[in-house]
């Protein structure tokens, strides 16, 4: 619902710049968010609103950041592509493809060194599997046996181009795993229970000193790559088929079948909707960031001073 609201705010020109929505991919962030310990680390991409939210970051902070308001998670200095909430273990959303993969390895190395039992979970798209940092990170994580879980969210398109058109293997994540001595794991990323169980297993393995995992989760983004992209390059039948597999109504069906009542689910939906409304209202009423923060916080002393 938050992502849909972000889209609506775009349409009202209240969110500037760009944004990359993960409508349709919610089950991945949700499943992992539930499986992680509160002090574990998340590293994600510009398509990272959900991944940041599930760690406990404030929804007002997220919408405020998208809208460039003072209440934003980063006081408006980061924007949609760089959500971060270190106090919640959301260690940043990185907008250069693949760059966060070695950074996640570094956080995992730190956890290993400090013997803290923390695990780093790093989300990235299918397109990332073709960039050099992917290879460097997986090899590095494997040889140092780091507690990091790499999660390739394969939504079938790198940006506008089908991933199959530009990739030497059929499954961009799973088919690469053996190159790093890792087990190939390929799952339905729209099945939130399966994502949760797979995440739990990979995270437990990492926490127990079993080293990294590379998971490929197959999913689909309902919209285009970013704000500028209506996603018209995708065949209608394909879009229709995946919309029918929308993980949110699918999970509702599953819960109903498991005996949860309609009214319980309606109440939850209403609560979420109210929370999104409240977050939006607060963000709307928040001021633009004060101009004097534009040159702060470059250095640890809070300044950006470069000369005596």
């Amino acid at each position: 619902m938050m992502e849909q609201r972000a889209y609506d705010l775009f349409m009202q020109n209240l969110v500037k710049g760009t944004s990359h929505l993960a409508l349709g991919q919610e089950a991945v962030a949700a499943g992992f968010g539930e499986a992680m310990r509160s002090d574990d680390y998340t590293f994600c991409t510009y398509r990272g609103h959900n991944h940041t939210l599930v760690r406990g970051a404030s929804m007002t902070g997220i919408l405020g950041e998208l809208m460039g308001r003072e209440c934003g998670l980063l006081n408006g200095k980061g924007g949609s592509m760089h959500l971060m909430s270190v106090e919640h273990g959301a260690m940043g959303s990185y907008a250069i493809i693949g760059a966060h993969m070695p950074i996640a390895a570094g956080a995992a190395w730190s956890a290993q060194y400090r013997e803290s039992g923390q695990v780093a979970v790093c989300f990235f798209g299918d397109g990332t599997t073709n960039i050099g940092a992917f290879h460097e990170s997986l090899n590095f994580a494997a040889v140092w046996s780091l507690p990091v879980v790499y999660v390739c969210e394969n939504n079938l398109y790198m940006e506008y181009t089908p991933i199959g058109d530009v990739t030497a293997v059929k499954n961009p994540g799973a088919d690469r795993a053996s190159a790093y001595g890792l087990e190939p794991i390929l799952i339905d990323g729209n099945d939130v229970d399966l994502v949760y169980a797979t995440a739990q297993a990979a995270i437990a393995k990492a926490r127990d000193g079993g080293g990294p995992s590379l998971l490929e989760v197959q999913t689909y983004r309902h919209g285009g790559h970013s704000r500028a992209d209506p996603g018209k390059y995708r065949p209608d039948e394909e879009v229709k088929a995946w919309l029918a597999r929308d993980p949110i109504p699918a999970y509702r069906k599953q819960l109903l079948a498991a005996g949860v009542s309609d009214s319980t689910l309606d109440t939850i939906d209403q609560e979420v909707s109210d929370r999104v409304d409240a977050a939006e209202a607060t963000a709307r009423s928040s001021s633009p960031p004060p101009l004097d923060i534009a040159d702060t916080d470059l250095w640890a002393d809070g300044t950006s001073t470069w000369r005596t």
Binding site: K77, G78, A99, M101, A105, Y113, I293, D297
Partner: protein, 325 residues
């Protein structure tokens, strides 16, 4: 006081800091078991063990990404990029990730890390292992940039860089590794952002960095002895933060500024210093500012060619004499 080589001062600084702080760790290619291709880190793994001093694959993005991730989660990593030319294959991690993330996150986390690298020419390695790239780093908001010229400064400034709460790119000039000098005994830390006046004179201020500093000192001797020109020589030591106070005081007194830079001509650090002096100290100047640099070319390999293009003592002398005339 002990006599240490510039090379030995590197491991002296790292070991000093590793003894004092368990959070300090050191990684890089061939740095641990082998002690580094320039033997700058020999003995560190023997003293601190393979967990704190660790060899990496040849994977510069992984090395620096790992350093960043470790720094933002409680460690104080030191990472080596074997030759500074190799920054080109991992510059994204340096420029887009390490340098920007504190700012973008409104100060949610800090990046106390050091990236050491062998920089510069004079070793006949050819164009891909000889560049002076400190000016690349200087151009990036969010990076501190240090380049020592003596063993004492290697130890003191590297120790300070490791203690600094911000990312520091620490450029070691590879042609200086064999040079020796007095290094104070005991704990040794030199503050970052302080230029050092190495020689006081009244006619001209010569500002140099790293390998250009001993050349500037030699030139100053010749200027005094053969031309009767009295030169101040300042070792900048740190490009960011830049000690404009020390430089300005001297230029105000002498009225003349010559920068000696190993980097290729365009956008070298001396251009920034010159521009600051021109903007803020114009009325104190008695002549044009002169920049002595490597021409705007990659470095050639043959010794005769490399010597011909790097700033030399003679070239510094010639330029100062022409300015003083």
């Amino acid at each position: 006081m002990a006599q240490l080589s510039y090379r030995e001062a590197v491991s002296a600084a790292i070991s000093q800091e590793m003894r004092l702080d368990d959070r300090v760790v050191f990684i890089g290619e061939d740095v641990a078991a082998a002690g580094g291709v320039f033997k700058t880190t020999e003995g560190l793994q023997a003293e601190f063990g393979p967990v704190r001093v660790r060899d990496t694959p040849i994977a510069e993005q992984a090395i620096l990404g790992a350093a960043m991730g470790a720094a933002m989660t409680g460690l104080r990593p030191v990472a080596e990029i074997m030759f500074s030319d190799f920054f080109a294959v991992c510059w994204d991690i340096v420029v887009n990730q390490i340098a920007k993330t504190r700012f973008m996150s409104a100060g949610q986390c800090s990046f106390p890390l050091v990236i050491r690298s062998a920089n510069g020419g004079g070793a006949r390695f050819g164009a891909q292992h000889s560049q002076s790239v400190e000016n690349w780093a200087m151009a990036v908001p969010g990076l501190k940039v240090v380049a020592p010229s003596s063993p004492a400064d290697v130890k003191g400034l590297l120790a300070a860089s490791i203690r600094d709460p911000d990312p520091v790119l620490f450029f070691e000039q590879k042609s200086l590794y064999g040079t020796k000098g007095e290094v104070p005994d005991g704990e040794c830390v030199e503050p970052l952002g302080k230029a050092k006046v190495l020689r006081e004179g009244s006619d001209v201020t010569i500002v140099g960095l790293a390998a250009m500093v001993p050349k500037a000192l030699k030139a100053a001797e010749i200027l005094q002895d053969k031309h009767g020109i009295s030169a101040t020589v300042i070792d900048v030591r740190s490009l960011v933060p830049l000690d404009t106070t020390t430089i300005f005081e001297s230029v105000s007194a002498t009225g003349r500024l010559v920068t000696v830079e190993e980097n290729p001509r365009l956008c070298g650090w001396g251009a920034e210093v010159s521009s600051l002096v021109a903007e803020e100290l114009f009325w104190d100047l008695e002549g044009p500012i002169v920049r002595v640099t490597t021409p705007h070319i990659p470095l050639p390999s043959a010794d005769a060619l490399e010597d011909a293009v790097l700033p030399s003592v003679d070239r510094i002398v010639e330029n100062v004499v022409r300015l003083a005339d």
